[in-house]
Amino acid sequence: MSTEVKEKEVIKIKPAESFLSKRRRKILVDPLDDNNPISIQVLGICSALAVTIKLEPTIVMSISVVFVMIFSSLITSLIRNYIPVRVRIIVQLAIIATLVTLVSEFLKAFNYEMFKVLGAFVGLIITNCIILGRLEAYAMGNKPYDSVLDALGSSVGYAWIILVVAFFRELLGSGSVLGFKVFEMLGWYSFPTNGLFVDSIGAFIILGLLIWAQRTRNGYIEN
């Protein structure tokens, strides 16, 4: 206990921490693998199932989540000392909801096709527990730059998982990658596409395999 306090004091006294110090690198890299929001914390599963049928909407979704995550963390962290504790969740939600609405409006204006495909799912970023979770657990108590790093790590950790899931779902379910019929290009015209992967069940299967592979590699032990 006492050593912890000492460490914190030491950090405070330091004139300037390097731009990407070891501690900060850990904040950034941890959620990508060891503490991944989807595969380890099992958060944000619903959107991971819903938008991953094709790769292209998944890319748009990933960019949207990264954007909302980073800016909501930054804003929350900047005003963290002014947010009344009793209404902090409402404030956080209002910030997230505003950013999500902005993303949705911009999408409708500049990429209407994608807006139609993603439809309600962009609005549902508000309920993505990863975002609210990081705001409450990290941005409320840390400096802006650290919070942005944490947000970037968590959102990219979310993004890479759904991109991998979407890649395999589109490949096996529709026989294409980003709309290109890869198997036909390779001369395999009778590739048997599997309808299971177009359904959410396919996402569960791939997500399960992904978690299995990751836990085996990292030697994860259930408590």
């Binding site: 002014y82 947010i83 009344p84 504790v85 209404v87 209002a94 409006e105 204006a109 309808g195 177009v198």
Partner: protein, 250 residues
Amino acid sequence: MQQSNLYIISFTLIMTIFLGSLLSFTRMQLGPIQKKQVEIDTKKKILGAVMDISTLTSDEVLNLYNEKMKSIVIDLDGEEIIQADGSKLVAEEINIQKNYKIDPKERKYPVFMFSSNGESVDYYIFPMFGNGLWDWISGFIALDEKLNTVIGVAFDHKSETPGLGARISSEEIQDRYKGKMIYNQINELVSVKMLKSENNKGLGSHEVDGMSGATITAYGLNDMISHYFECYDPYISKIKTSPRSLTFNK
């Protein structure tokens, strides 16, 4: 200080006003662009029923549409709807989904006409709306100048099963409608029906090969098409008996 009720109320008030203004400002700025996107989308669907527009850019679609398409809004009797102040309705702004929910007699029916030379109509395009298996389905059916042969169709759906009912929006299924007839030889309305199961042999001129595993969606399509052609029938027979000189006043 932070915990006082006054502080909390002022904080939330300022936050609400700030975020609210930000959002309404964005909405005002983006509104016209969004409206144009919706317009392009509708016009693409209408043109898509008569030609392949996949290679055209949005601006080309709009130009082509403005040049070649005319539209009219009719009622169930097949007469053009003139509003109380003498103005006509804009067919592109009619919401077919909203109209579907009201009594057929009260509905406003848009009809789109494609003319390559600006004088005579080549194709008539009829929008329609109905129910699939899970949610709504909609479509545009283009008929030739004699108002009988199907030139092309464009179907859309909200949440039919991918790989099964969702195939109605694929080119493969839509091509099956080309060349089919809506009226029989003695000029009675028969509509066009999608059959159950796939690879049916000896299809008649009012029959379309079905989709395996999507019979309910197919029946939804059949109901939608026959219902709407019944509604459009008075207009179609009027045009057939007395071909109107078109009001293609440019």
